[in-house]
Symmetry: C2
Subunit: 522 residues, 2 copies
Amino acid sequence: MGSLDIKQESSPLMTNPLDSEEFRRQGYMVIDFLAEYYKNIQKFPVRSQVEPGYLRKRLPESAPYEPESIERILKDVHDDIVPGLTHWQSPNYYAYFPSSGSTAGLLGETLAAGFNVVGFNWISSPASTELESIVMDWLAEMLNLPKSFTFSGDGGGVMMGTTCEAILTTITAARDRILDRIGREHINKLVVYGSDQTHCSFFKSAKIAGILPNNFRQVKTSRVNAFSMRPDALRAAIQADVDAGLVPFFLCTTVGTTSTAAVDPVALLCEVAKDYGMWVHIDAAYAGNACICPEFRHMINGVENADSFSFNTHKWFLTTLDCCCLWVKDPSSLVRCLSTNPEYLKNKATDTQQVVDYKDWQITLSRRFRSLKMWLVLRSYGVDYLRNFLRSHVDMAAYFEQLVRMDGRFEVVVPRSFALVCFRLSASAVIQRLYDSCHRHGHGQKFLEEETLNDVNAELLESVNSAGQIYMTHSLVDGVYMLRFAVGATLTQTHHVTYAWKQVQDHASAVLARRINSICNC
Amino acid sequence: MGSLDIKQESSPLMTNPLDSEEFRRQGYMVIDFLAEYYKNIQKFPVRSQVEPGYLRKRLPESAPYEPESIERILKDVHDDIVPGLTHWQSPNYYAYFPSSGSTAGLLGETLAAGFNVVGFNWISSPASTELESIVMDWLAEMLNLPKSFTFSGDGGGVMMGTTCEAILTTITAARDRILDRIGREHINKLVVYGSDQTHCSFFKSAKIAGILPNNFRQVKTSRVNAFSMRPDALRAAIQADVDAGLVPFFLCTTVGTTSTAAVDPVALLCEVAKDYGMWVHIDAAYAGNACICPEFRHMINGVENADSFSFNTHKWFLTTLDCCCLWVKDPSSLVRCLSTNPEYLKNKATDTQQVVDYKDWQITLSRRFRSLKMWLVLRSYGVDYLRNFLRSHVDMAAYFEQLVRMDGRFEVVVPRSFALVCFRLSASAVIQRLYDSCHRHGHGQKFLEEETLNDVNAELLESVNSAGQIYMTHSLVDGVYMLRFAVGATLTQTHHVTYAWKQVQDHASAVLARRINSICNC
């Protein structure tokens, strides 16, 4: 063995980037920054008011050569980044679906980033894997999922980033299950089913998995059935494909669609799919959260006959983005399809088959320690509070719905589900109002068209959002343009909802006045 | 319009989960917890010593009904979670590839989690999208990537979670580009190419994308060529497939393979692939980081002829997991294949086509504000320091390599690349040593087998890792079992490397002594 008389000094560096005291100093500053952000969040326009390209004008063209101080960086975050944020955590945020943050979720994310472990298999950080399995069992119990979806019942749960990943994972597993039986060469015969309200990521996932786009079936829904999928329509679509020599293999049902929070009749749809040996996934990304409340649990009745179930705790469960929880009855169907076993990952724990290696349950190898934040959320708030948190939002949405119903100019387009209210300036009232006003001036007829009503509502939404006091988004279902009011931001309280409604009313008055003026001046 | 004399009060709740002052109080505690963790990190065994199932024994069976205090939760993190961690941030961590954290990366992650915006399209949070495009251009300049990969050159970059996603995204885009030309029904003719050293996620991604597993080609490499892919072998494989009526469409080259950090000759391989109109991706997950140093940049020469390039800043760039940076020359090839345009996401900014909607560049819809942490890292440390940070690890690896070479019992298995040293107890020395020792006792012959040498090295690795003072992993290439010593943890300094080598030497002496004893006692 030789001497150590060789180069030992590396290039001279400044303070180590993980120096404990410098981390503490900067950490406090970032915590303070965020505490001030939450305190002042209502001062910012909810939807960012910047123009495309705003940031490139403000930032240098290249990364700095020399280090910059945290003080300067935080000043720039305040001056340059915050104006370009749409404030999802604002109490006046009602757009899309919520992304409800919390102290526990945020600090859980910080802890996970601090440990910064890469939990692709058990040995790479046992706590990451084990806590995930435990927390997924806890959540399954809270949802009253059948035991067959839990680890003690030969099923199991896994945390991913998004529903897109959960759906792609299950489609891929289901695809290989059927192709292993009928032969790989028959991929072009495979057919997937959703409704015209199923989230766009379902068909995107099917496309990624190599399913022929001609073989995507969108079962038509209608307002009469509150945009839920009809079992008889599904059966007809499946049978037609079977008759044509195709192979139905995957059904995606939705509990809480994105446009209107419609609920597919899971139990009945599972029965249809079962007749054809298909994999059924339940996408409850949004509404699954509410199902921890006993009074909403019936929305997922029939789940015992599905193959997989997922919901996003990053939506409406105080858990920071991202966290999609997926349960499957038969984890081996994922592992058969998605496992890899390169030499550089081999280890004794895996060989004993006593451990879960989550890399084999999902698309990606590397994975974050998501269960830590979920664990902090569950413990910091507890089951009782979490249920009441969700209920408070449903109550506030019900309150908003009542406000809408009391204003004759508006209508609720579909019955409210959960904490989402879909409404619009109504055809009967507003068109008539415009019509009457204009008729007196001889411009009547054309204002009775649905398209015009949609335009008026789109104008109302843009008027509200541009003002920046609240933020809502829209949808267009069955030809009907509607405003979506989704309660779910953590800071939202009843007085915010009252305020929001006042905003909507005021802008409606202004928009209608403008419309009448422009018509009468034409 | 009716009165507001209706229910306004939601269920009574305790302090709001985003209460500013409570967040500040708990935030300081978590920062303190992590500061202490970094201060004491060397006290923990690097590879967790827990047994499978350890955590379920310690945690309750159900989520708590009532809230628990942060004090109690942090105590449990300390008592129950930390023992189950493998400490990737330990200065004594040399396993897999690094996951180098930093104050800037961690606090950037915290800020992003605090804002908790969901940047699927521009309007959902303009700063998230714009900062990502800017930072990706900054990084492209640091890597001296051709302008054709930047936004000003009609290309562009996007941040994903992992290389798996980057590869799946590009395979899918390339697949649809060729299928649009030859017809969707020909998916079973498509062939993908890598080497037998290409990361396992490449073939997994191809499988997910519906490519026939029979059509995965692993070009054989050998120790003579330091396990890099030979252009003539690639050409032969492609031509054989063309002759058989198949359609080659995707080549994955690697700069810094997982087993040995081998570097494929990108320029030459691109020439071959170009002759067949194939998409070429460069997976530089690990070694791409080093390419911001001019002296390593030649490793990716030829990138100007590739279609896409990716590397992971969460590996070796002080950026917290997860962050994979992907550049493509033709973003429209991603968008054509991956875009969705549901009504509920339509907005004016998208309609003007002046903005990037990153949801159309990737698998998932929801996406975190990853560029914020990357921006903090680049600004907090600066280009000069980042280069020296990487160089210091390369220097330490070179130092370790010298130590190995000076101990006659060991050999360096392949020439060191970057900061990874692949070594083992050598055949010539050790087998001879065992052989000599045993020969005197009449047990000689069988100890000359390569398999025995592999066993001895596996025993050495397990002996080192079980002791918990340092952590390394292994690989097995071309029948040769080797120990991998990957320098890259942020806290590692030269004296840690000296210490690590002493550990290896001591355990080697013990393992060899045990082997000789067991043989002589048999």
